[in-house]
Symmetry: C2
Subunit: 406 residues, 2 copies
């Protein structure tokens, strides 16, 4: 072993930690445990037979393309299909403003590489998606958290924060947000807040990174415009999307939209990351679009997850102890909801009791960079079955009840 | 557009340039041009029907795994298969020292992220693979070049350089090398040099990054041990491998081997880059291994490329003007050879004359970070057909002849 090895590691790595969530997930894989901890789409939704036949056809008929290196920007046919899909959301995007990525996580890594110098401030929600925290941390970002409420990120807090940061000559590079059915909190940024967020970004001339993997999975209420749409081509918003939740994750496929000067940097940066995204994955996704299967498939996913969400909300209503400090969000879409528990209960300690009772969640603490989340947990409703959801919530409610002050 | 946008970009990006090679490649795609410029494997080698049927079977029978997220470390079955493959090269690697990556370029990005702070010195060959230069540049590395000759990187030059760098208190993080049939020069690091390189790395306690994508494609001569093998588990060598050249590139699949403390950092860093490599690609590659098809397939590739290499060497011998300053390497494997031309000819200017004559190459200048390579070019022999190789070399020889001093 090199004696100097520790000295050789970069500063990017010193901040890196093994994902606590990932380590805990390993504990939740025992067969008897009902896990609300993961974030996986349900394999029930995978269109296995369709994709199996499609893959065979695509390789047979187009193998010299699908098995070869592809352009860094992505398969032009898939880009066009996605642009058409975006048009159904009132977004008119030119091919040069759309980059195919190896799923949304690569989009986050691109944002980190292209914008974050070590110790640069970056604004995130309290709580925020752990993968985004990990990506920006890997460029040694400094995180500044802004609270969320039921309408998403608190723009009043953000306004004061930005004013202060400008005074200190230390404006952030960007604000990171998951506007639709946020992971982990399950809340949706209201239209008013979307407009305020954009106005603030415009005023302070900073970027907004919109990460919206669940957007198409809305179960109740009406679609809100994306920040990218509201930006109206001004170039303030970088918008990150993925096929992982609307089709399946195993292809590692997503797309990013941004203004032309940003896109130029993204393309060069992506080239240094993986040269190009799998031509095979792209060819399969393109054919899936072409046959018009995606829209039907999304509707099927929505039906399945809508039911699971209702089952979880009903179970929470029925089994959770009535206590002024116990509450949960009621997400209009996505895969997660967020439960707040009384201040006298430490959610990390509760986790082991829950495991004993054969139920698992993710502690809120993993979604904060500043020690928050000690009395909150994320519950996933997409992966467990309906009966598992009911039983699991019963178990969880009992564990919480056992910890309440009487 | 944000007025402050230029201020928001990171220092990583300021050094990034559009790949000149990539831009020039666009010029070479006109139908009449015979291009020696690309680096693509020949689609003739793609086992299209095998993979088409395999993909269908794998998805049908294993779809809930193959279409889902996978572990960041990689599919344990594929890791075991690769460990078996490595054993045929005298490498005994434990699963925890082997990481599946989204092809070799991601391996290079991992090395950059985990080891390079801005302005850290990194030693590369003169010339070096552009993708490695791009990856390390995206972490703002400082490059220090060491010349290559027919035996690979010059360890005598390296020895003096390291001595000097230690005196200056500025030792490099690592030495980057493509020991087998180097891209672009086509030269192979001799056994003696491999041992000297390791001895130097050991003496100065720095790492060696071994990038060996073509290793299995040897057409003449005997296999030399990898640096990873010669390291004997001391942890000095990080070894990067890919399926792109031995199977096909469209899956984006490779693997990295390193000591346990390095691997721990790589896994966390990979998580922030793309969470995991495509489970579908991994399942296909695993089945390809399991059926014992890979060895046969590699032998077929070797037969095809060996012939193309001979055709190119014979054509060079036959058509290139006899001139003391014109020479070319005779690679024992891989996809490329390197032609040196007289000092009075600027290879970048010659490029446009070559295009006029309907033949293309890559100028040497793209493979240097210090302005070298003005009188050299890289020729690829894997992609063009045998008859294209003969005609293309005739055309190239005429263009060069027209530029010689008489």
């Amino acid at each position: 072993m090199l004696s100097r090895l520790e000295l050789l590691f970069s500063i990017n790595v010193t901040g890196m930690k093994k994902s606590v969530i990932r380590e805990l997930l390993k504990l939740t894989q025992k067969p008897d445990i009902i896990s609300f901890a993961g974030g996986l789409p349900s394999p029930e939704t995978f269109p296995i037979d369709q994709v199996a036949d499609l893959a065979r056809e695509v390789i047979r008929e187009d193998g010299t393309w699908a098995l070869q290196y592809g352009p860094t920007e992505g398969d032009p046919r898939l880009k066009e299909a996605i642009a058409g899909f975006m048009a159904t959301e009132n977004i008119r995007v030119k091919p040069e403003n759309l980059l195919i990525v190896s799923a949304a996580q690569q989009g986050l890594d691109l944002v980190g590489k292209v914008f974050v110098n070590r110790h640069n401030p970056v604004i995130i929600g309290r709580p925020s998606y752990v993968g985004a925290i990990g990506a920006f941390r890997s460029y040694a970002a400094n995180f500044i958290g802004v609270d969320l409420d039921d309408e998403g990120i608190r723009t009043d807090e953000l306004r004061m924060l930005l004013k202060q940061m400008r005074l200190e000559g230390n404006l952030p590079k960007f604000i990171y947000t998951v506007p639709d059915f946020q992971n982990p909190a399950g809340v949706t940024l209201s239209l008013k807040r979307r407009q305020e967020l954009l106005a603030l970004a415009r005023e302070y001339q900073i970027l907004i990174v919109e990460d919206t993997p669940y957007r198409q999975l809305r179960y109740v209420g009406r679609h809100l415009p994306t920040l990218y749409e509201l930006d109206e081509g001004e170039g303030i918003v970088i918008s990150i999307h993925t096929f992982s939740k609307i089709l399946f994750p195993g292809m590692r496929l997503g797309w990013v939209m941004a203004s032309t000067p940003i896109m130029e940097k993204f393309i060069i940066a992506k080239q240094s990351m993986d040269l190009c995204t799998s031509a095979l994955s792209q060819a399969i996704a393109y054919e899936y679009f072409k046959r018009g299967w995606l829209e039907t498939h999304i509707q099927e996913n929505i039906a399945l997850y809508r039911k699971k969400r209702s089952v979880m909300l009903e179970a929470l209503e029925k089994y959770m102890p009535g206590h002024p400090e116990i509450s949960w969000t009621k997400p209009e879409g996505g895969l997660f909801l967020w439960v707040t528990i009384p201040e006298n209960i430490d959610v990390d300690r509760l986790f082991y009791q829950a495991l004993e009772a054969n139920v698992a969640y993710v502690s809120g603490t993993g979604f904060y960079t500043d020690g928050g989340g000690k009395h909150a947990m994320r519950l996933n409703f997409s992966y467990p079955s309906e009966s598992q959801i009911v039983t699991g919530i019963q178990r969880l409610a009992e564990v919480i009840s056992g910890n309440l002050d009487i």
